[in-house]
Structure formats: C-alpha cells, structure tokens
Homo-oligomer: 278 residues x 4
Amino acid sequence: MVGPIKIGFVSRQQPESIRLAQMLIYQIESEGKGVTIFVDEDLALKIGREGTPVAEMERQLVDFIVSVGGDGTILRTIHKMADPAPILGINMGTLGFLVDVEPKDAVETLSRLLAGFDVDARSRLKLLLNGVCLPRATNEIAFLTASPAKMIEFEIIVDGALMEDFRADGVIIATSTGSTAYAMSAGGPIVDPRVDAIVLVPMAPFKLSSRPWVIPGDSVIEVRLKLPDKEALVVVDGQTSMVISSKDTVVISKAKTPARFVKVGREGFYAKVKSKLT
Amino acid sequence: MVGPIKIGFVSRQQPESIRLAQMLIYQIESEGKGVTIFVDEDLALKIGREGTPVAEMERQLVDFIVSVGGDGTILRTIHKMADPAPILGINMGTLGFLVDVEPKDAVETLSRLLAGFDVDARSRLKLLLNGVCLPRATNEIAFLTASPAKMIEFEIIVDGALMEDFRADGVIIATSTGSTAYAMSAGGPIVDPRVDAIVLVPMAPFKLSSRPWVIPGDSVIEVRLKLPDKEALVVVDGQTSMVISSKDTVVISKAKTPARFVKVGREGFYAKVKSKLT
Amino acid sequence: MVGPIKIGFVSRQQPESIRLAQMLIYQIESEGKGVTIFVDEDLALKIGREGTPVAEMERQLVDFIVSVGGDGTILRTIHKMADPAPILGINMGTLGFLVDVEPKDAVETLSRLLAGFDVDARSRLKLLLNGVCLPRATNEIAFLTASPAKMIEFEIIVDGALMEDFRADGVIIATSTGSTAYAMSAGGPIVDPRVDAIVLVPMAPFKLSSRPWVIPGDSVIEVRLKLPDKEALVVVDGQTSMVISSKDTVVISKAKTPARFVKVGREGFYAKVKSKLT
Amino acid sequence: MVGPIKIGFVSRQQPESIRLAQMLIYQIESEGKGVTIFVDEDLALKIGREGTPVAEMERQLVDFIVSVGGDGTILRTIHKMADPAPILGINMGTLGFLVDVEPKDAVETLSRLLAGFDVDARSRLKLLLNGVCLPRATNEIAFLTASPAKMIEFEIIVDGALMEDFRADGVIIATSTGSTAYAMSAGGPIVDPRVDAIVLVPMAPFKLSSRPWVIPGDSVIEVRLKLPDKEALVVVDGQTSMVISSKDTVVISKAKTPARFVKVGREGFYAKVKSKLT
C-alpha cells in the first residue's frame, strides 16, 4: 500500500468483541508502523479513545474497516457509507457469510493484510421509496406483511413487464451475496457471487406453484401492494424497517457503489458454503 | 331431524354476502316449515332483524350455523363457541377449504339439508398460555417473530421430550384440517383429515435441514422461546394475536370439543384438494 | 425371558462387520449362559460355522436377530420373514435410522439385552402385484420411471377415490418408519412412528403444486400407470425391483405382521432425528 | 430477408402433427413466393415428398426450421445440428417452454414471419465424455443413478474447486433455458434466460441441507462418480442416454454455438411462465 495506512474499527456492543477490538488496536499500535487508527464512536466510548463516525472514516479514505462481531455489525457499518470502504469481518460466534476471520487468527491475519490486500466488490441494491433512497442493501430487501399471519398481495414488475403477482407473507429481493442469508432460509437457491443476478423469493406463498426467481443483476424492479388497506414492512439487511402501503412507489435497482470486502484469501466461495451450511 | 329446526346465520361484512344471507333467510321463512332463525348481531344490524350472539346460538342448540363469506368468517364464528355447533360454509369468492357450497347452489343445498344432514367432526387445538385458554384453533396456531426479519429461537417439547430447537421466523402448529391452509404455504404436507395428527412447520428456518413434522394428534406440545429479550406473536387461525416472551408458558394439546361441519356430501377430501390446489 | 434364549446373527459382507459379528458370538458363548446361536448362511461361510437361513431362525422363534451392518442389512433380513423376529441393529458406519447400537457399545448392550428387552413394533406395507405378494416393506415402496429422465403418469386411488394423478419421475409410498429414509430425501415430512399413517411423496413432479401427502395407515392404495407404453420399476426398501406396466394391478395396504425392533432404550425418536439429521 | 427464403420442416410422428405440417407446407407453396421447403426424412415418408436430413438443412442455411410437436421434437432437431438454425415451434398439446405458437395461429404466424423475423439465441451446454463430445444440451444434462432407488455419490468440481460432493439419486445441470424444464420439477429456481448462468439441482439428496445452485454461465464443471462400482446414466435433454462410471472423465462447459429460436414476439418470458406454470 502507498502512503500511511489508515484502519477503522467497529465492534458489536458485547464485552468479548470489545476486548478483541481493543487487543487488535493495541497490537497494531505496538508494532509502531505508523498506522492511523479510527475508532467508531460506540466502541470509542467503551475503550476510552476519541471516536470517529463511520461516515468520517469513509471521507478519510481508510484502507479498510475491521468489524468485530457478526454479519449484522458489518451490514450496519456498510449502511453508513455511500461508497463503502472495504470491510474485514472478525467472526464472534455467528454463522454469517460476511465474517471471514476467526478470532484466533485475527492478529496474524490483520498483520499480514497491513502489507497489502485484495478487495472483493459485491453489488448492492438501491431502493427508491417515493423517490427517496433508503440504505443500500448488501444482502437483501424484504417486504413483509405488517399484519402477522395475514397475507399480502404483491405485484412485481421487472423492466416494465409484470413478472408475478402473488399473495404471500412477503417477498425477499436479494443480491447474489444475500442468497446465502435470509433468502436461503426462505427456500432460495445458492447463487455464486460471480453471477450478476438478483434473487426473488416469495415467503409462504399462497399459490403452491410459486418458485424462487433469478433475474438479471441490472433489472429494475417495481414492487406494488395491490390492496389499498394493507401495509407491508420494508426491511433492509435485517436492520432498517419502514412501513409502506399501496400508495407508495417502490423501485429497486443495482446500486452504483458496491460493498467491498477485504479478501482473506485462503478459501473460496464453495469452501465457505461447505463449512457454513453442513 | 327431531323437533323444530333452529338455524343460525353469520355473514362477512360485505354487501354481496349480506344480500345472499338475507335471501337465504327469506327463502327458509317463505317455505313456512317452522324453522327458527337466529341472526348474528353484525348481520342483524344490516338487515333489520333482532340479533343473537353466536354464543347464544350455541346455548339454543341450533342445528347448524350458515356462514356466508370465507374461511375467516367460519373460523371467527367457531372461536365464539365452547362446543361448536356445525357450520355450513357458503363460499363468497375465496379458495378456502372450509367453505363447501357455491353461492349458486346455496338455496338448493340449504333446502335439502333442512331434511337431514351428517356432521364431520374435526379435532381442534387448545392453547394454554400461562394456564389461560385462548380460542381453540380449528386450523393452526402460528408463532411468529415480533421483530420482522429477525429470527427467533424456539424449543419444541413434545410429551416431555425435546423435539427440536430452531432459529426461524416462526413455527406453525396445525391440525390435519389446517394442513391445507397456512401450514401448506409454509411448506407442510397435505394431511388427510382422517389422520389423527398434528403438523409442525418451521417458517424460514435457519437450519437448512429442518423439515415439517407430523406427530400424534394427542401429543402435548410445549413451545418455549429461548432468548429472554425476544418476543413472539401467537396467532390463532389468523384471527387472534397475542405477544409472548421467554417467561411465558405455552402448552398445546387436542381440545376436548371438535369443530363440526355440515357434510354437503358430494365430494370427498381428495376431490376438494384437486379442485382447490390445481 | 422364559426358557433358553435363542439369538440369530446376520452381517454385511464386509470384513469389519464379519469380525464384529464373530466377536459378539464368541462373547455370548464364552459367558456360558446357554444361549443358542443361529448364524445366517453367508456369515456362517465366513466364520466356519453351520449356517441357518433367516426363515429357519423365524421358525425356531429366535428371541431376536442381531444385524451387523447398515439399514440395508436389516431390511433384507426382515424381507426373509413372514412374521419378523425382532431386530437389533449394530451400526457399521451408515447414517440409517434402523441401526441403534454403535459398535463400541455392542458387547455391553447385547449382554444387557440377554437379561430382557422390549420390542418396538412398526407397521409394514404389503404390495399385491396382480394378486401376488411381494416382500413387505418396512420403509417404503418406490415406483420409478423405467426410462430415466422420462416422466411417467400415475393415478393414485385411495380407498376407491382418486387421490391424485400426476406426471413425475416416480412416487414413494412410505411407512412412518420410512418417512426418515428415501421419502425424506424426496421432500417428505418427518412422521413420528407413533402416527398410524402412510406417506406419499411424488418425485420431481411436473405439476409444481404437488405436495407430499399423509394418509391413514389403514388406507388401501391402488397405483395405476396411465400410459400403455410406459413401464415403471417397483423397488421395495431399496432391495427388490420389478417392472410393471399399465396392465398390472398394484394394491398396497398395511401388512398384517409388523417389523419388530429390540428397544435399546436410551434415546427416543426425536433424539435420534436430532443426531442423524443435523 | 435477403435472397430466396428456405424453410425446413420437422414433425412429431403423430397423425395430427403430420397433418398440420402438411397443411403449413401446402399453405406456403400455394402462396407462390418462391420459398424453398425442406422436409425431414421421417415427415417426408409420411407425406410423400423427398426427405432432407436436418444436418443437410443446416448446411443449406435454411432461414428457420418449423417444428410441429412438443419440446422433445425441438430438442431432437437441435441435437442434429452443430450450429443450429433457428427453430419455430408449433405446440401440439404439450406444456413446453420451447413451443411458441398455438396450432390455430400457425398459418398466420408463419405467413407473417416469412416477411422477416428476429432470433433469440440461447446458450447450450457441451459435455465432453473422455474428451468426446455428446450432443449439446439446450435444456439440461442429467446424471441419474443407474440402479434405481440406490443413491450415487457425486463430486462436482467447478473451475477447479470442489463445489459440493453429495449422495443423491442424481444431479441436473441446466441452462437458464432449461431452468423451467426438468430442473424445475426437481426443485430448481426459475432463471430468466437473460441471466448468463448454469443451474445445478441435486435430485433427492441424502443431505437435507442441499440446495440448488446458480453458477456463472462460463463455468467449467467436472462431474465425478466417487465409488468405483456404481454407474450413472447421462441423459441430454431427455433424449440421449449413456452409462458412465468412476473411470470416466466428464467435463461440461458452455457450447460455442447457441440454440436459436424464432421470436414470435407477442409475449415475454414472464408472461410465458405465468401461462405455463399456473
């Protein structure tokens, strides 16, 4: 890497994660290689340092951000950036696909990556709700009935053509990256992240012949609620939640800026599926 | 039938259904066979008659109750009775399995049934929430995460043994009758109503090897939430909804009194599946 | 147990299994408790003893038969008996549901069971092919297209009523016991063996709304091929295979005699599912 | 179109199809526009014309080939060409996705297309078996156990990395075009043909966590049988069948030449799914 290295740190609000983050920061600083460290405000409070918002880390062009926690920690961090800095996920006990490094390997891996690293760019989804942009989705945008156990009627229009209309508990619209997250629990296929595609998975559909769909990654998807008196929740990456009704205009397309992940490198996608899904 | 016949009437709150109910009542009364008619309060208001609560119809030992509407109308009506009177469902545009008579056949069918009819008894499920009984379920009891798109951890104990613990959006516990309703959308099997069984279907389970279960109809099922800070909604037959947490005790077993349906008779269960599910 | 104990032995044709069988026989005989041992002919050949056909063990009313191998070994052994003696399965490396004892526990378990044991009776299915009885099925009867990748059209008649007609690669008709075997791979539910039921699972059905069925255990099922020029294979418990065509009459019902298994006792069905399916 | 138009004709061996083919040929010739007609040998025999092999039609650079029959007729015709001429499918009673024209619209559609038409190119799969090329697959290549109801163990290597190893009845490797054919019956997703992808669907997999996969369209896939004593059938587009064992080398990749279909134009892919799958 050219120039002084800048690393950001975020952590799950949980003693173990915070301790590990603190230890990694100490490790880097004690090596005395002139790495500049930024610490997210929540973490900063806990370990007595000055805090830097993630958005400011983005402006400072950090080389990457170390996330200590689970997939949720990573997804929330990415939501705070318009053109996300690469993420390095340290896995604190979850089974997520976004966390690449086991705690016991964290020191060594981090040390190695300071000498240089590659980045894996992953498409995100942009949702315009009445023209206003919600946080880009790294994994998926889920539309769920706001009245539990009462189905909702959707119309999905892709590139101007009616793809499907169905009654269901909801529908998940996922990136290839998100195909192994929520979409998979709902019955979707495993999509290799190299495939430029979007996955749509109906949830508990009334019509038994409904199937998951895989459509082009650059599709423009419109989601419409058909009944005027029903509401749906929109949940982005399991984090942000809003209520919509049949009056709202919802348009989903590929985001201009991808999520980025530091390549830890040893194992590919298939090996990861094998280790996580068995 | 011995003695004077008593018929109850309930209807969906929708002009067409109300008109049909009114027409059927007129038809019976004009035949002058001394049939006593009870009309549920909501319907009574609309057609200018004296209203009788469904629970009072039960006490009056009505021969059966005509429900004009969909499965929801029937399920709500049954919920109001401890030992439910038989139901005759007139189908107003839904695809439900509980409605047996098409509007165009209603007059003729009703006329025929006044001369005598058989009853189909269907097991219901009783839910004790901290020892208090909720309305018996004719179709199913659904446990759904109260935080949309956030999984909840369940433990299912059957007859004292741990059946399964899983992370999922929810779990559906259905009667054989309910196997072709919500449980089926969630991926459950079609269970012949003659099988004395309970069906459990995990919804969007995290563990990909999860499968629907079919267990004995007289099982005692305990549902536990594992995490102290998470809540679930309990929804009975898509109608009643309550919030529970890990502190609550939830025990499900076969109800002492079944739901009853007037046998319309021409077609059996398989023919009904064929006509509804194709 | 009253009277002198009689134990049969069968084994998979594989050195490890034969060695373990031999060791168990030696163990019993060296304890000198007057147990009479019968050894199946294939095993007898390998270990230099006199052989006894399984059917003869049945006539000799053996207390139980020790099967060293996998589920296949057990299923084949049961096929040889009209009113099967109880089976004790020693598990040689498979993931089957019928094998209950791990090799390391075999000596101790066997020793314990010689002092007394309970039996678990499991319904079997009888298939009459043009009135002739094939081996009873402990797990399932599978009907598979005889022309790979070419669908076949089936008609399933249950108790005289058309249950379903479908185009598919095949259909599996399984006992509750067999629900966790082939039927499960094809998408069927887990059926508690206490439920008196038969499971039907279509294989790769053309009609996307097809679902697995659970019907009463005492149903009489007729399977018909609809096209005169197509043939299907009938495979019982993965062992016996016959070809049928649209001219053949196939009737399936509950067998009069069940399969029997020695209860090893420590763990129930749910715990077994948990350990095998995770 | 430039120059004299050349049209080929093939037909299913069934009176209705042959009659329609004959009628369409008569129609074109009676219009006297100098269209040259080639008739496949089987059809030629039935209608008393001179026959031309499909491969010769390809060499003659026919503008397109009219196929009267079902998807099978089309798939067999494409198999006979190295660089397939465009196909126009007249639908004789099947539910296939490749047949675009209903018999009642055939005359008018054909007449219209003689004035000009667009072509839809669809990727095919090439299978090298020990270095020898089998017919390219328009829909799918299926690997099926040669011993019905006995699972086979596969290893799938994609671009040199182990994707998955599994025990199953078989595995389907399909194009996007084939995603709505056999792969769908086996549980695969609907893949928009614009997505450059290959779908892998395990059939009745032993491991319950197995899922369908969607991988890049330019992947190089190696399929290996793991056990030396087991055989599998390779079936290309439901037509060609060969036996392979663990000694054989099987490599699948995108074919250089696509299948081509005459665009009939009125309805898109989503409308077709809607009309075929409901």
